[in-house]
Symmetry: C2
Subunit: 320 residues, 2 copies
């Protein structure tokens, strides 16, 4: 970890999330072995805590006492929680369409929430303008290398929890790719260190309304057409690390799939009703993508597939 | 565990929740060592999952395929999740005042949610009438011995996580007491088995509007006066195991405190702003009670205190 003193970490038990078998959902997809990693067990309810704990530890070591972040919601809540614990003041810029549960969560930690009209990118622009105006550190989870060093641990945990083995495939929802890139860095390190001979195929899933990575992978032109998606956590038009994600896709032998909102909500329902797991739509998108990848033959029946459940359903409640 | 075949458990990684130090909140209360156990990391966001996994395993072994439960919300969501995973149909009776996040969570798992007007007890009565009418198993988390066997594991975890030692005090929010009684059973077993010489003092915290146990402990008369509380998870007028809770209070050297809604909400705010932990009001009540117990001298400055954060703030969002 890129932190000098272990005491800089204001840990809250992030990581070490459970890996659980999805027997019924796997069978319904024709898969013999499907595993979920329940990132919803992280303290603020999403995998972002893995990155925030490192980001805030580094901030403390640099004497930072106030930060600016922009987020669709989960990273903002996570950074706010770890900032509170570290005694750092946080300003979070989020789209005004942020689910109310995430907005309330960001505020409860004492962070200042700035709601910005327009797409996800407008929150980034507003954050940058505010950083310029006030001279406060921009602790962007999407740009900070510290954050990605934290999400990297996900890969090592998978290896340890599966008995020092890796699954054949990981299927990951990708907006700006902070879990995807972290996982890839971890698996690549493990291979370079000789811990494993090969890495899993890392598949990328996006919502059909926001599919810049999928389109680039397919060699298609793509631009946003103004449609929204229920998967607000991956509603990114232009991920800053798109090229890095594409390189990881190709290097790992991964594939990419775009899914529509109906299939996302249907996957969310099946995950809850068959397996008792309550995911936010962004997380359910990975399962909708898995279904596509099985149907198209990219993933075989006897392959072992692991899917992270990246955020809790409690953070983005379905319409009743 | 009172289950014959380990394969009967449809585990989702419940338990093994983090113990984290609360340095700043502890200091603000004048305590040298305060620890929180983050039960919000359980798969459905509350400690109830510890009981539900055992209850549903026992139900499966008895060939049960449909159950009735009544709950203020968290146990209903938890039983619904584990029932879904076990392939058991669930009917949950809850007060119509149940927070919307908990109602949505119960429904997402495919359970039938029956909303009942009136106090918490009206949901129990409606559940019982429905059980009589339809001849379905009443899998009450409050009455089932299987459920309490699950919450008992909490005590063993505390022991292991603190390096085979126990804290001096536990402060627990008590409605019907399913965590309080489970913890007591665990600590008592550990003493009887010779693992420890003495047990922690188990303190009980209730909301001032619902304080049957506190009043009995104080030797005072009490009856509900129609007031409500923000701590809906402990709004119980007449806990079925009140006498057992009182015996455990006395046997462990515990005390009892009643707290008002203002202090509950203030404790929730401090926990989030100082420590980055987002608790539901029911859970924050324990910290409000802790403050009382320190002020009254029951808990000393150098004593080690552990408080469970029983349910996630995401389940019961504060008014904005």
């Amino acid at each position: 970890m890129p932190v000098h003193d272990p005491a800089s970490f204001t840990s809250m038990g992030e990581g070490s999330t459970a890996c659980v078998g999805l027997t019924k959902l796997g069978a319904s997809l024709g898969l013999e072995r499907l595993t979920a990693k329940l990132e919803i067990q992280n303290p603020t309810g999403s995998y972002k805590d893995r990155g925030s704990v490192v980001l805030m530890a580094a901030a403390r070591e640099h004497g930072v006492c106030e930060v600016v972040e922009d987020s669709s919601g989960n990273a903002g809540a996570s950074v706010s929680a770890y900032a509170a614990r570290a005694g750092i003041r946080a300003h979070v810029f989020a789209p005004s369409s942020v689910p109310s549960a995430k907005a309330a969560q960001i505020r409860v930690y004492g962070a200042s929430l700035h709601l910005i009209d327009g797409p996800r990118e407008a929150a980034t622009e507003a954050a940058l303008a505010w950083v310029d105006e006030h001279g406060i550190v921009y602790a962007s989870h999407n740009l900070s290398p510290y954050f990605i060093e934290g999400t990297k641990v996900f890969a090592y945990e998978v290896f340890m929890q599966l008995g020092r083995r890796l699954p054949d495939h990981l299927v990951i929802p990708v907006g700006n790719g902070s879990l995807y890139r972290g996982a890839w860095n971890g698996f690549r390190e493990m291979r370079e260190a000789g811990l494993v001979d090969s890495v899993p195929r890392l598949h990328c899933v996006q919502a059909r309304a926001f599919m810049p990575v999928v389109a680039a992978y397919m060699g298609e032109d793509w631009s946003p057409d103004g449609r929204g998606t229920v998967a607000g956590g991956i509603a990114s038009v232009d991920p800053p690390h798109k090229q890095a994600i594409l390189r990881a896709l190709r290097a790992s032998g991964g594939s990419a799939a775009a899914v529509d909102d109906d299939s996302i909500l249907e996957s969310r329902r099946l995950l809850a009703e068959m397996e008792g797991i309550y995911a936010e739509p962004t997380s359910a998108a990975a399962f909708a993508g898995l279904s596509e990848l099985v149907r198209s033959g990219v993933i075989g029946r006897s392959d072992h597939v692991l899917v992270p459940v990246t955020g809790s359903g409690l953070k983005d409640t379905p319409p009743s």
